[in-house]
């Protein structure tokens, strides 16, 4: 039971299409992780507050409206400001290729396009958790 991985699946921005976010949340639960789901329409500030209170190791952001360039890097920056820069941020949604590169530059560790098999997300989490400090 030690070092159970906790993950926040969050929906920043205003879009209400949470089918993907809910799928990821459930699938990660079934893969043995503890998943907190934020609900829709969360501000970056609220997401960071949740991530810290819940002490998650990962924050997965899902957004389909196209506001990712404004909102994803903001989450990364706010985490760093709150002494939580070790929390790994990844994202998913409709994100054009050039934006993916820029998001990664901004500190988003991975970006998963629509239709990514859950296995890929799990592989990413398992590979990345090795770098994380033990509790």
């Amino acid at each position: 039971m030690e070092n159970t991985v906790r993950i926040l699946i969050a929906k920043p921005g205003l879009d209400g299409h949470d089918r993907g976010a809910k799928y990821i949340a459930r699938a990660l639960r079934d893969a043995g992780y503890e998943v907190i789901y934020s609900g829709i329409r969360q501000t970056p500030e609220a997401i960071v507050e949740m991530a810290i209170q819940e002490d998650v190791q990962f924050v997965g952001l899902s957004l389909l409206s196209g506001a990712h360039m404004a909102l994803f890097p903001r989450v990364v920056d706010l985490l760093r400001e709150h002494d939580a820069g070790d929390i790994v941020v990844f994202g998913g949604g409709i994100i054009p290729g050039p934006d993916v590169y820029e998001l990664q530059e901004a500190g988003v560790r991975a970006v998963f396009p629509p239709g990514t098999p859950i296995k890929k997300v799990i592989d990413f989490i398992e590979a990345t958790r090795q770098e994380l400090p033990a509790l």
């Binding site: 921005g13 209400g16 089918r19 799928y23 329409r41 409206s65 239709g115």
Partner: protein, 555 residues
Amino acid sequence: MSLSNERSRWEREVVQPVVRRHPERRDGRLETASGVPLERVYLPPEGADGAAYRESLGFPGEYPFTRGVQPTMYRGRYWTMRQYAGFGTARETNERFRYLLDEGQTGLSVAFDLPTQIGYDSDHGLALGEVGKVGVAIDSLADMEVLFDRIPLDRVSTSMTINAPAAVLLAMYTVVAEKQGVSRDSLRGTIQNDILKEYIARGTYIFPPEPSMRLVTNTFRFCAEELPRWNSISISGYHIREAGATAVQELAFTLADAIAYVEAALSAGLDIDAFAGRLSFFFSAGSDLLEEVAKFRAARRMWARIMKERFGSDSPRSQALRFHAQTSGAALTAQQPDNNVVRVTLHALAAVLGGAQSLHTNSRDEALSLPTEESVRIALRTQQIIALESGVANTVDPLAGSWAVEALTDELESRAREYLERIDREGGMVAAIGRGTPQRDIEDAAYRYQREIEDHDRLVVGVNCHEGIGDSCIDVMGFRQDVHDAQVSRVEGVREERDGAAAASTLAALRDAARDPDADLMEPIVEAVRAYATLGEICGALRDEFGEYRQHTVV
């Protein structure tokens, strides 16, 4: 009466009056490619059980409308090809509209950005990054005037995908028409105005259910009295389906929503036939062609029966379920996006074989980004090819009598009825949504579907099979940052230039009306719009009075 006698009666009493007013079209030949003439409608062979036929299928344009809501369907006129468009500023969208009208599109369909859909002005903090993204940003009447600049509102029909603030956008549209010198009774179009599916599936709600339903019934009354050719609601299964519902759930939950609206309007004192004829529907068209066709046919039959048996309406206009269809976005794939052109063709064909009144075909890059102009054109061409080349529009309800399709139609109806019965036991759709049961059904279905794809129990070309060819690269329209700044300075300008005292007093009047549960909200909203109160101010006033809805279902 034998079927052939029935047919003569139908031709005489139903078809002829319609054909006299709207002759069948002459542009396409009403025969097959090799010259075999096509009958208007094909019937079971002589000697078949006429009573059973009339009971379950009937003639096109007659109860129970299984075969279509008009007697001649596409032989009279094709469906309306209505591509959803809207992005950036009102000016840019106006240009796209005029391009589409020039390209032969016959109706406008406005997509609004998320801040507009949730009742925030572009300079609101929560609008950051969202302005002009998934649709056009409309902050005040000034934007609406630009949006319809040089588009004569008495000659187009306009569909607006707007829900929580639908009353406000409808008010803006009528005031723009007024300024164009167009009378209210010549306005044609639709507001989506379907708040219940926002709670279930789409998420752009503002207020709690009770005041939201009041706004809906207020718009029903306004349309019944002022805009006789306007569809006051588009009861939408589309988003329910997109959220992961099965076809059966889409059918059941959409009709359950419709029942809830009718009940709300009746208890607000409206007469059933004063508004029911202006209810319209909106369904998804997915890849499973036979099931989709059966779904559309079952929807018509179920609604006709609901109107007759449950609400006691004998008016064919109230009984006939008219619907817009959009091809499924969820069925499109980011992998090998050109394959989506083929998928959209299947979806569109299902909608046409199912008797849609209007159709939006998605662009192949829908799963990636806002569609490019080229993709939008291919999508429109898809509809035109089905209309002009496929021949399926030349006889009414061509799949009727297929044992498979008829059996599926019956089965979908019976499965959807089980859901409706459960919802009745739960105290109606508003109560069921409160308990979260439809939401849970949809989430479970969505999860199952995705798991099946992951486990290869369901095959999707390019996603979990035949993926070897590699993704084709398509030109994706980038997202732009300038729209936000332009829109912010625009709304600030409007607030500066208008008569501030007049705007404030209309907003105060709106608050007063909101506090009185029996007061009408439409006229105060129209007055506020006319005084250039912004969307955010109008919705803000209502937020103060009504409170805000919060999501409460868990995955």
